[in-house]
Symmetry: D2
Subunit: 158 residues, 4 copies
């Protein structure tokens, strides 16, 4: 049921994966008794944060190293609803690229391990400056992120 | 800057368009001082509701007529940020299809009328029943929606 | 630093307590880099749901037993901010009353166990009916909730 | 039905009032088909922002003048539910005080002009600094806000 959102990266290392779990909150459910479609970016973010934290590329660390990674593109495919109180998992899958971007895929599964939702986000990289109007889009990853890519490629993160 | 999300519908009437305006709320802005990417589904929904209300195909009316139209797919492309207090417009563009689906495109513009964000949603149609587990996916639009399509095609909504 | 929101219930059993933990999400933080004040009802709800689930008086169970418990009153006192990524706990404290109401106090603590926020909610009890316009406010707890009160008073829940 | 949240300010000018209108969004409605109680801080904020903007004491202006006004206390009393698509108004009422605080009351009314919800917030004043850990609580209003108080007391804002 899942789609291939990113082409396989030839010569690159296998993707990095992290799975987190969450339970549907009352406030996330709409009058149809299912999770409102606009809540899923928050679900994706939980898994994104967990994966980035594990590998030292979280928001705060990147910011301290002079760059931020805003979302450039987001896509969600909804297959099955989630209901109040239901437990589900969110898997984030970071795909390899040498470009100054972060390609991440997401797979949500219910307690029966059925895929309920999939999607992806693409993040770009910007240098940070005192004035946000002077932020510059990076074409190649900054040294801090490049070092992470090198560790990944070397197999140290597997 | 905008993309063509839906192919032109040959032989179909031109799209229906509605534009609403909104102002960025404090709570919608993240620590980077821009609107958090996950708020945009709410922005899309404002324009969707306005367009559907204008043409009598809003959630409540559809529900009274025995069907609902959950989101099956959502996509957002982020080009420029929106900041606290900024006014912006959201245009919803309903594209023609005879299938049991709703293809809607969205264009956000800032006060300078620059495109900040675009995206689309695809909705499917389900019959409603007392038990939500008995909902059935519709392959052709129900009579109520078919009548709307006929008015649209006849030019009565232009 | 905490206040006494509810007077001690003379002759009643001690309060029931449940503590849950949570981590501040990026989307919950405002341009001042602290959690936006309007997110705290969601934090309270996490602890409320955990406490109610533990004792069989959660939303779904009550609904199946013919009543709902909407919020009638909410209060929050903010002492210290919470910041992005910070871990914190939310303690829900259910105070004894024989009336058809739910008096719950909340205490949030940061990782240093400092109290950051306190508050309370009061819920009333309504019978549910096919038409929500026929809902009736209950003056005494329904039998299902009365049985819970009896278990609590007997010490079985301590 | 409304309560007196703040004692009358003897010798002070009458309160300042602004009313805004809003329509219930689909995403704000819970499985009980009424607005989830935790959305009301957002409703209060819309009226707060409108009142503060009108009088030049909005967030951005205060920030430029070296202080911020975080929420110290929030209270909500829920009398009647709001339902999907319903239009309602939010009145913000700023009560006089010479202290370094902002005492604001809120009254929500449905289309029948029935009071559905009331509440209040208390804001304190902090100086802003490069490091948020050096923020200092103000005991008397800063000059910029004091000038606003003087205009208010003189009757210029009536």
């Amino acid at each position: 049921m899942t789609r291939r959102y990113f082409p396989p990266a030839e010569g690159g290392p296998p993707p990095l994966r992290v799975e987190v779990s969450r339970q549907v909150r009352f406030e996330e459910v709409d009058p149809l008794a299912i999770v409102w479609h606009g809540r899923y970016p928050s679900f994706f973010e939980d898994a994104r944060v967990a994966l980035c934290d594990r590998h030292g590329i979280g928001y705060l660390t990147c910011h301290e190293n002079g760059f931020v990674t805003p979302i450039r593109k987001m896509h969600v495919d909804y297959f099955r609803p989630l209901r109040f109180h239901e437990r589900f998992t969110i898997e984030a899958i970071l795909h390899w690229t040498e470009a100054a971007r972060i390609d991440m895929e997401f797979i949500l599964r219910n307690e029966a391990r059925e895929v309920t939702t999939t999607g992806y986000t693409v993040q770009m990289m910007l240098t940070t400056s005192a004035s946000s109007t002077d932020d510059t889009i990076l074409l190649i990853p900054p040294p801090y992120y490049r070092a992470f890519l090198d560790r990944w490629k070397s197999g140290a993160l597997a």
